[in-house]
């Protein structure tokens, strides 16, 4: 084992891993973090804590991660290159690890234009690929990005994101290969609704043997309503929602749409379990964390392995 990460242990055991996420509150409401984490606690191997998601100010991912860690759970802190330069990132990582946080996700982050501070200067000192390399170097070589020795290096299990649906499609396997080359341990993908396209991407991943070098967790998001599906299709960058998804939700009454959305999520998991190279699932139930246990159970992923 490279780290003490529970996610690493589950993946190493060969079992399908399950992660989920919670968005920290937009204010000093630590109880909200705890409530969300408590909903997920028995059904996942790690809880992603988003970092100022969609460029809206929230409690910092590291701080919310500490709250979750103190509940005896396993936070996966996300870090975006939009808000921090390499000094701030590394100090945050040391701080997080000092509280026992051992798993993180390296991201570029949505552009500030999407959030509530569109006038802010984005930092982007390093990109997500360079961040992966930096965290690996901190762990494996005990060195800061600048080259100095770390007195007590953080041992992070390093994740990143992949979006098989963004353009240009032909670059998307190569982009993953770059992250693998930088040393990423696991990948959580963008929400998958176009399963055919995802499978085509995975085929490219497997053909290059990348599935032997990195654990891929398929991103699953249950649709709450047809309105949400339409919004995601039209407004969220890099999202691929086939018309079939919208039609299927339109085909049931408004009251039944949430249930249908969950059914679709479970069906997706069942189908993707068969895909070579998929080593687990990352369930992003946006402001709907309470449904995660149900999805995990219905998809036959419960109980979670004891590692």
């Amino acid at each position: 084992m490279k780290t003490d990460s529970r996610l690493e242990k589950v993946l190493a055991s060969g079992e399908l891993a399950v992660t989920s996420e919670c968005g920290p509150p937009r204010g000093c409401r630590p109880e909200k973090v705890k409530e969300k984490a408590a909903l997920l606690k028995d059904h996942v191997d790690g809880i992603n804590v988003t970092d100022n998601q969609t460029a809206m100010v929230r409690m910092s991912s590291c701080t919310a991660g500490i709250l979750i860690k103190q509940m005896g759970l396993d936070p996966i802190i996300q870090m975006v290159s939009r808000d921090r330069n390499r000094l701030a990132m590394q100090s945050e990582i040391i701080g997080a690890y000092s509280f026992g946080i051992n798993t993180m996700l390296c991201l570029s982050g949505d552009h500030a234009k999407f959030g509530d501070h569109p006038m802010a200067q984005g930092v982007f000192d390093i990109d997500s690929v360079q961040m992966i390399k930096m965290v690996r170097q901190m762990r494996d070589d005990g060195l800061f990005q600048g080259g100095a020795k770390i007195d007590g290096p953080p041992k992070m299990f390093v994740g990143a994101a992949a979006n098989p649906f963004a353009d240009p499609f032909e670059l998307r396997v190569m982009r993953l290969a770059k992250k693998v080359k930088a040393g990423v341990d696991f990948i959580q993908t963008q929400c998958i609704f176009n399963l055919d396209k995802f499978e085509e991407w995975m085929k490219g991943v497997v053909d290059r043997g990348l599935d032997e070098q990195v654990h891929i967790l398929a991103g699953i998001t249950p649709m709450k309503s047809v309105g949400m599906a339409r919004y995601m299709k039209n407004k969220v960058p890099g999202m691929d929602i086939p018309d079939d998804v919208i039609k299927r939700l339109e085909g049931v009454s408004k009251e039944q749409q949430p249930e249908e959305g969950i059914k679709m999520a479970v069906e997706s998991i069942e189908r993707l379990k068969q895909v070579k190279g998929v080593h687990g699932f990352h369930i992003m139930a946006i402001e709907w964390e309470e449904k995660v246990p149900q999805i995990v159970e219905k998809a036959g992923l419960f109980p979670r392995p004891k590692v």
């Binding site: 570029s108 552009h111 000192d125 390093i126 360079q130 963004a166 353009d167 240009p168 080359k181």
Partner: protein
């Protein structure tokens, strides 16, 4: 070249409100090309200022002059004979020109009449787009002649990010995804494999992180 756009006229009027004798200075270089502060724009701005003062029943004396280069002390020296006869200078050059004048004539206030925007290229008549951030360590030789620093909204060195949609940037459908352009260009050049080479974390010092830049050419100095 350096691109600029004229400031809102009200802002310029506010700057010069306390003064009645103005030296309005254009520049024959970049701001002439981007039609923000050349001889023609100096004339137009002078007329506009005259008109607005007339409307308020005030008098203003505006002397117009357009220098070959406002960022060059040699040309800025041409203002010396006029400077004692004016209360303030309004510069239509980029920020470099404004500061060169301010540095030479310590007792005369200088106001900018344009907002300096970016280093850009002309795409077509009347259209300019940002092409260079002056990062001080050019990577165009390895990115197929498309700059990820100036043209990727997140200046990613190992892009594209996950927000690319229909080949355009997540920030705006009017912005081409720089990494889509880099990829297309590498393909045209038969250099696809170069995409997978990791680009290391950038040293931002030459581009300004190391403090304001200075170039000293011993052979010329």
């Amino acid at each position: 070249m350096i691109t600029a756009e004229q400031k809102p006229i009200q802002e310029i009027i506010q700057y010069i409100a306390p003064y009645s004798r103005i030296l309005l200075v254009g520049c024959n270089e970049c701001v002439t090309v981007c039609a923000a502060g050349g001889r023609k724009e100096v004339g137009l701005l002078a007329s506009a200022l005259h008109l607005s003062h007339l409307k308020q029943g005030k008098n203003i004396d505006i002397r117009e002059i357009t220098l070959e280069r406002q960022c060059d002390p040699e040309y800025v020296e041409e203002l010396a004979p006029y400077i004692d006869g004016v209360d303030a200078v309004v510069s239509m050059a980029c920020g470099c020109g404004v500061q060169t004048i301010a540095g030479r004539f310590k007792k005369t206030p200088v106001f900018p009449a344009v907002n300096t925007r970016f280093m850009g290229a002309s795409l077509s008549q009347g259209v300019w787009a940002e092409r260079c951030k002056g990062c001080g360590d050019c990577v165009l030789g390895i990115t197929g002649g498309v700059c990820p620093v100036a043209r990727c909204s997140k200046h990613l060195f190992n892009g594209p990010c996950g927000g690319t949609s229909h080949g355009q940037c997540e920030v705006s459908q009017d912005i081409d995804c720089a990494w889509r352009l880099i990829w297309e260009r590498l393909k045209e050049l038969g250099l696809e494999s170069r995409y997978e080479e990791l680009m290391e974390a950038k040293d931002w010092r030459p581009g300004g992180a190391g403090g304001p830049g200075t170039i000293i050419r011993e052979d010329l100095a």
